[in-house]
Subunit: 478 residues, 2 copies
């Protein structure tokens, strides 16, 4: 059974041909957006546009129906009024289509009647040998096979998968994280998950060689037992970040009307997440930051943090954030302090931990890397958090060189919008283009340097990474 589902999904991820329904040169822009997404991603197989009334959409000749397509069709994107979905599914089955992404909504999330239609749909598809993703979903993103569900998603491949009950979140994460250099292996928006569900895709990701880190947005799940068994089995080898919503009364009500999900008791989820070694996050921004931390190839060995900062105020706040997350300040060795004293200014600065590099570090781009090398070599230090007001090319390159030697987790807190600002400050400090910034950030993550929006996020991410490292060791003994 396991091999079967993995093989099935692998085929769905690698279609030779795709047909998009619900497109129109005149009105229905959602179908067009989906069609354009495949073009934008450079899908290499055959791409068909289905519309019986029009000649052409976005330069692609329209074919009146799925059945009228000449040659095999592996994947169909269904984006039509829900009342037309059953007939279209029948067409697909008759044509021998392997799988359909049902973008259309109006099923289980609308109440009992919608739920029944959904069940019938799945029954028909199963009898006909076709699998369904959705309904009420965005579908699949996979840069290696040219699949996408939104224009502007990164074409470059990463090692993180995102499995989500919300479709919009998937495209938002893809684009926003893409801007900051985060890349994905796969994204799956399952929506109501009537046929292929979160568990099926989770099992697929377990054996997917392109995926090393799994991230989830979850509202509720039908077979919670299987989910937790799977998660507990996978998490020691591939960390799983989970954004679980429906934690409160209001969230549970909202989830029911969004994807018809039963969120379950918060207490049971909390305990289950802990037991299975999953890592909880609570919003899109935090998810992005945690992904960069969990790509880290150098697991932390303990909780002693060295803090480096130009702005002294943020250094103090970062110390608070570390203690509140269960980390503690490392005592730098006398040697480290001596080395730091060689270039850290005598005044308005500090060579004790937190190491306050002062405003000088904004002028001298070698200061952060040099201080990082010293703290990283100190055997009293397990990890480093640094606040960098403006992330310059030279600072980033210096940190990359340093990290290649020290191999301890480095979490950088920086307001990314600063780096590419064109203000009068750039006269003194320089600037960097968004494209360059994104490319450097990607290299930083791969090397084990994570990037965060706030000191609290950085401290929580490192603390979670440490807990996960210990969990993994307890399970795998290594």
């Amino acid at each position: 059974m396991k091999n079967s589902i993995v093989t099935t999904i692998d085929e769905i991820f690698n279609p030779r041909s795709i047909a998009v329904t619900g497109v129109s040169a005149k009105s229905n822009r959602l179908g067009n957006l989906l069609l354009y997404s495949f073009m934008d991603m450079g899908f290499k197989g055959k791409l068909y546009a289905v519309n019986s009334n029009e000649e052409e959409v976005m330069g692609i000749k329209c074919i009146p129906s799925v059945g009228a397509i000449d040659g095999p069709v592996d994947l169909v994107i269904i984006s039509v009024h829900p009342s037309r979905v059953p007939a279209l599914v029948d067409d697909c089955i008759a044509k021998g289509v392997k799988a359909a992404v049902v973008f259309s909504s109006g099923f289980r999330e609308k109440g009992d009647e919608g739920g029944k239609t959904e069940e019938l749909l799945v029954q028909r598809a199963r009898e006909g040998g076709m699998r369904i993703i959705g309904p009420n979903c965005m579908g699949l993103y996979s840069p290696s096979s040219g699949l996408s569900f939104f224009p502007g998603m990164p074409k470059e491949e990463g090692k993180t998968a995102f499995l989500s009950q919300s479709g919009s979140l998937a495209n938002m994460l893809g684009i926003s994280a893409g801007e900051r250099g985060i890349r994905f292996s796969r994204m799956i928006s399952v929506g109501n998950a009537a046929d292929l569900d979160m568990n099926d895709f989770l099992e697929y990701l377990e054996s997917d060689e392109k995926t090393e880190l799994i991230t989830l947005y979850l509202e509720g799940i039908a077979d919670g037992r299987r989910f937790l068994d799977l998660a507990a089995r996978i998490s020691p080898r591939k960390p799983i970040l989970i954004w679980k919503v429906g934690r409160t009364e209001g969230g549970r009500e909202s989830a029911a009307s969004h994807t018809g999900s039963l969120s379950g008791s918060e207490e049971i989820w909390k305990a289950a997440i802990r037991q299975a070694g999953l890592i909880a996050v609570e919003n899109l921004q935090e998810l992005g930051g945690f992904i960069t931390a969990f790509q880290n190839p150098h697991p932390p060995q303990g909780n002693r943090v060295a803090i480096l900062s130009g702005p002294g105020g943020i250094a103090v706040s970062t110390a608070d954030a570390c203690y509140e997350a269960g980390l503690k300040l490392a005592s730098l060795s006398d040697d480290s302090r001596k080395e730091l004293s060689k270039f850290v200014p005598e005044f308005g600065a500090s060579v004790a931990n937190p190491v306050d590099l002062s405003l000088s570090a904004s002028f001298d781009h070698g200061m952060y890397p040099r201080a990082t090398a010293i703290c990283g070599a100190d055997e009293n230090v397990d990890m480093i958090v640094e606040f960098i007001p403006i992330l310059h090319r030279e600072v980033a390159e210096g940190l990359l060189e340093t990290q290649a030697k020290i191999k301890k987790p480095i979490a950088v807190v920086t307001p990314l919008e600063f780096a590419s600002l064109e203000t009068s400050a750039a006269k003194f400090f320089g600037t960097i283009s968004r494209e360059e910034l994104s490319a450097i950030l990607k290299r930083m993550y791969d090397a084990g340097i994570s990037v965060h929006s706030t000191e609290q996020e950085a401290a929580k991410a490192l603390s979670s990474l440490l807990s996960y490292t210990r969990f993994r060791k307890s399970r795998l003994g290594a």
Copy 2:
């Protein structure tokens, strides 16, 4: 005494002439940065550069010493080696200078000896009739009088003051918040606060007509009793946001070496902050978001929230965030639902609260404003939180028009970096320049629409605004 300190500080904020020391065409770039900041801000009075060895710095003729300046000097910026500060202070006193900003560090924060030098300095200044800001500080920013301490600070004036023990934080907040349309009346970086301290400036801000909202970054304070008395007196009329660090063992150690501050017990602070009606924030990003919420001219009347969102997933997460912050979902009236049904899609959307506008809202820029008008007019709704993936000009303008009618707090959660992205998605959704975005955001804040990075921040900000409104009513009875 009160009038005396207010008058003194008001004079310092409006100097007729400024001399900047520690400048050099060759090396000392920190002094140059400070000199350039006044030029950048367009200081209208006389600006002098002091250097005995050079002819000219940044186009300004150098004068060998403060004493050699022809005409009165109101404010001197001292940015020299700490060993040279006492003599320079003497020069200033002899010249009849009214106040000096001592940027130089190397005093109390360096231990007992530095502390003694600092005390002597203050004693000398007081005997000579001169006031000191600092040492170990950035000084003053005040766009109305052309004062600044960093290039690129906004030239436009706002109604929020920032009073800080950390200098770098002040310039970072000024520039980053400036980018997102937040403006300030004054910023004061007091550093070690050896002479004029946090309390003096707080008292000044109490009567400052340009300031309606006070924000503080605080590590510790010598006269905690006076601070809390002042804060409790001011806060019912001008809300006070406080970023108090040194909350943990690690933070307290760090604060001592940063500005020589004693942070005090966390429990005492927590109780005091609550009692004085202050609003706690914990990082730069949150401070920015809370400032936009507390500029709100329309205080909330209760805790019933309407949530509007295109992406359904974020709507669920926002519901959780609201409940976790003590707010609850409003029950929309039948009339409201009926009105919403007229344009919210039947499928993949919802007219119950959270109102799920679906992906359609990314195409039809009138949907957010229209839904906001309906929810805002509903008497079951006290406040609105909306998640907007891409903040378009038309969406923002529509919200501004709507807010003029409904006059209830609106908190927008949006990833601002999205709005001005130049990706393939812009083909479908359009884009906006950073300058335009910043200008529209400013108008939104003034109208009572706050903008936040995460749903948790928005919910916390609205919840704090509600608590503050109740506190204010209990004190002022209105």
